[in-house]
Amino acid sequence: MALPQRRTDIGPPHYKDFLPPVIQKNYGDWKYHEVINGGLMVHVANSGDKIWTVRIASPRLLATDTIREYADLAEKYCGGYVRFTTRNNVEFLVSEEKNIEPLVAELKAKKQMLGGIGPRISNIVHTQGWIHCHSACTDASGLVKVLMDEFADYFNEKTLPNKVRFAVACCTNMCGAVHCSDIAVVAIHRKVPRIEHENVKNMCEVPSTLACCPTGAISPDPAKKSIKIKDEKCMYCGNCYSVCPALPISDSEYDGVAIVVGGKVGSLRSDPKFSKLVIPYIPNNPPRWPEVAKAFKIILDAYIAGAKKHERVGEWVERIGWEQFFNITKFPFTFQHIDDFTIARETFRTSAAFKW
């Protein structure tokens, strides 16, 4: 069968065609919103019109079967209008109040997880992992599943001092804002790349391979028409493998995950913050990574016990001090915790005031 005529440079469809009528009517004219429960909120316009949002978690990786189910539900209860959030949640946009209850009932019957609104844990921003990525040193989807199972109550029912944002990155490339999350996993390598000299010659361009190394650990090896790596300068970021596929770095035995804490992106109360290292390594233990879930639980429990209302994880830790954080969590403090990269000296303590 003949294919339709392709078109280029058209961009995406115009968003106006996908907004529910009540949004089109009240666009830019909303007055306030109220969080009714973890999975339901209402926005009220200056006109008095209302739109209810019923939010459920999705695993982000979706079969078309499931997308069609979402479409059917949206058609049944929302005039066909549905949206997704940056954190992979699905939002059913309900214009008629009477449709909320049957929609929620049907979602619950389908064992969907409602929640993510308000001072809670929302769904987890994450990367491709072993599903699809060449540089993954763990599986992001698996870790997300384990963490969301562990903390399901905090998605829907229970509240926290403020919202807590998790993230999972399957390598230090960190697709997604892992470096500014409350509690996040970033997977790491711990061994230098292996050099496949024959392939370097055929597959890689030497100058760009040298240039991509953040620490200048790579130099040319003219005799072999290849490259050399100074082991003691390499910090296993894997950037060179993305530029030159003849430098494989993944290692079943030594790869694993690190945990970073205390980042945020909003400017509320305090400036946006980077996440900081609290656990430099936990081995990969699929399929359910129990040690990672345990570490998250220790951090979250300490936050719940210690934070004041509205404090994000990073604000709480800054108030009590990082030395206190390590006291409370009993995580060992090691050489890996002390920065020796580009901004190291900014992080050294320059005051005689600290806690024991």
Partner: protein
């Protein structure tokens, strides 16, 4: 330079770089800027070459312009 002439010239530029240095679109633009050729013309010539399939974009940790493999 006429667009047809520029296209041939550009094709040869990419051809002669193959195996030595991968060229980025920016490298090609800079090359012709130094020769005093208008940027719009360079963009158009490259676009036509790629639309015709004589040149393609490739990706190896960054995007390059190359001649497609046989």
């Amino acid at each position: 330079m006429e667009i047809a002439e520029l296209k041939e010239n550009m094709y040869k530029l990419v051809e002669s770089a193959m195996g030595k240095k991968k060229l980025k679109a920016g490298d090609i633009k800079k090359h012709y800027r130094n020769e005093g050729i208008a940027e719009d013309q360079v963009k158009e010539a490259l676009k036509e070459l790629v639309d015709e399939g004589r040149l393609i974009y490739t990706y190896f940790g960054g995007s390059y312009v190359e001649i497609p493999p046989k």
